[in-house]
């Protein structure tokens, strides 16, 4: 019997998700035995035209990581969507935009100006910039750099999501085996735990029954020492575990650092940052407007960085509003 075909592709990604696949180590052999990889640009020789030659829907599952920022990436994912039965958004960038999504708080012009003109050691008296017009005259194409960053499902229809930055080996393995089992979960499911991170964190039992209330939110460098046996929230660190989907076994907390939310929200939440904001607001121990303002000023100087580190393109507002001058 023919083995099911799978494909992997990367957009504006760091490569960590490719590493995540390799981190399956020996387990990768169990997966590779069961499938036929027909496209994986960073590893195999198959080209775009090989994908084009396939029938629509011939690929069982394509795993795409990275956010969409360049025209070449958009073209490729649209092609892969046509040729695949299932498309899986792999990793936080494809799922929600990821860290590169933070660029939606800036503009393409600002990026270009700094990179090619005003950077501290840039010496560019002829004011050259990467220019698709120039390369067209030379005879080849330089892909266009878009104004905004997009998550994968803002460009094509996505069937499933494997969350994380990068998805840990246990999550990848379970997700792949689920998809190959033939017992498909409902479309649109995020393939990790359905509960918030606190459920699987060892420090959960140290939370007081009456709830958490703190008078100070600390910057990461402020604790003299982190007590590894006490909930990080009680120590003043803004851990987003309560609003973040679980499945990673609380890796960051085991490293004595708070959760930053890379698995995204639990089911039913439209805007991760709003949920995180609401949660942090609820643990501030004060009813006085000025006192609340001071706690926020001191502890959360950058709300977007804290609440939308991986999910800015998927926020309800999508990007920072740039007023035309």
């Amino acid at each position: 019997m023919e083995k099911p075909k799978i494909a992997l592709y990367w957009c504006a990604s760091c490569g960590g998700c490719e590493e995540a696949v390799v981190d399956l180590a020996e387990d990768i052999l169990t997966v590779v035995e069961k499938v036929d990889i027909v496209f994986w640009p960073v590893a195999l020789d198959f080209k775009r035209e090989d994908v084009e030659k396939l029938k629509d829907g011939e690929i069982l599952a394509t795993f795409i990581n990275g956010a969409v920022r360049l025209s070449e990436q958009e073209d490729m994912v649209k092609l892969l969507r046509r040729k695949s039965k299932l498309v899986i958004a792999f990793g936080a960038c494809a799922h929600m935009g990821g860290v590169p999504g933070l660029a939606n708080s800036q503009t393409k012009q600002k990026i270009f100006d700094y990179y090619y003109h005003t950077g501290p050691i840039v010496y560019n008296p002829e004011k050259k910039i990467p220019d698709p017009e120039f390369t067209k005259k030379q005879g080849f194409e330089l892909p266009e750099f878009y104004e905004d960053v997009r998550a994968l499902d803002q460009v094509i229809d996505v069937d499933y999501y494997i969350p994380g930055c990068a998805p840990p080996p246990n999550v990848v393995k379970n997700a792949v085996l689920t998809l190959l089992s033939g017992n498909l979960p409902p479309k649109g499911k995020v393939l990790a735990s359905d509960k918030a991170l606190c459920e699987e964190c060892d420090l959960n039992k140290t939370k007081p029954a009456e709830g958490i209330k703190i008078k100070e939110i600390k910057r990461y460098y402020e604790p003299e020492k982190v007590d590894p046996e006490k909930c990080l929230l009680l120590q003043g660190l803004p851990c987003l575990g309560p609003v973040t989907r679980g499945g990673c076994n609380a890796l960051c907390i085991k490293g004595n650092m708070p959760c930053t939310g890379c698995f995204g929200p639990v089911d039913g939440v439209k805007d991760y940052g709003a949920a995180a904001l609401s949660f942090i607001a609820s643990i501030i121990d004060s009813n006085d407007e000025n006192e609340i303002k001071n706690i926020i000023e001191k502890g959360i100087p950058d709300p977007i960085g804290l609440f939308y580190m991986y999910s800015l393109p998927k926020s309800l507002l999508f990007r920072k509003i740039i007023k035309e001058e």
């Binding site: 709003a274 949920a275 942090i280 609820s282 303002k293 507002l317 509003i321 007023k323």
Partner: protein, 139 residues
């Protein structure tokens, strides 16, 4: 700025205080800007930041929140919970490039119909001067 720009204002008011004040204003035949569309919640503590972001995303030019005065909340602490979220949300909205004046919180009790009218009219004019929000569509 567009000529004849009519701001779309969303008001989210708590049932026991501000919504009652709005009713009182209506019954008393007090005039106020018709730009506001009111949503009634049982308590301002019910207001999740998502509602406000959703309002802006779907065309609201300004959002006005109304709750009971501190200490008078029907559910004891709900208005404080709203206050905390509101203060943090204001800071976030600034980073998104949305002017501070577009989101406003007022404590208006059930008997303060005149305060209600004053606030709504003031807020509508503020938004009219600011103009519409140039929100970008995703697609």
């Amino acid at each position: 700025m567009e000529k004849n720009f009519e701001p779309k204002i969303i008001g989210i008011f708590c049932n026991w205080c501000t919504y009652a004040a709005a009713d009182l204003a209506g019954v008393s035949r007090m005039q106020y800007s018709p730009n506001i569309r009111i949503i009634r919640v049982m308590c301002s503590g019910r207001i999740h930041p998502e509602f406000i972001l959703y309002a802006f995303k779907n065309g609201a030019d300004g959002v006005l929140i109304g709750g009971c005065h501190p200490g008078d909340c029907h559910y004891i602490e709900g208005n404080y919970k709203n206050l905390r979220r509101y203060l943090l949300l204001k800071k976030l909205l600034k980073q998104f490039g949305i002017e501070e004046e577009r989101l406003r919180l007022e404590w208006i009790s059930a008997s303060e119909a005149d305060k209600f009218v004053k606030v709504v009219n003031e807020f509508t004019e503020t938004i009219r001067k600011l103009g519409p929000i140039p929100l970008k569509k995703e697609a």
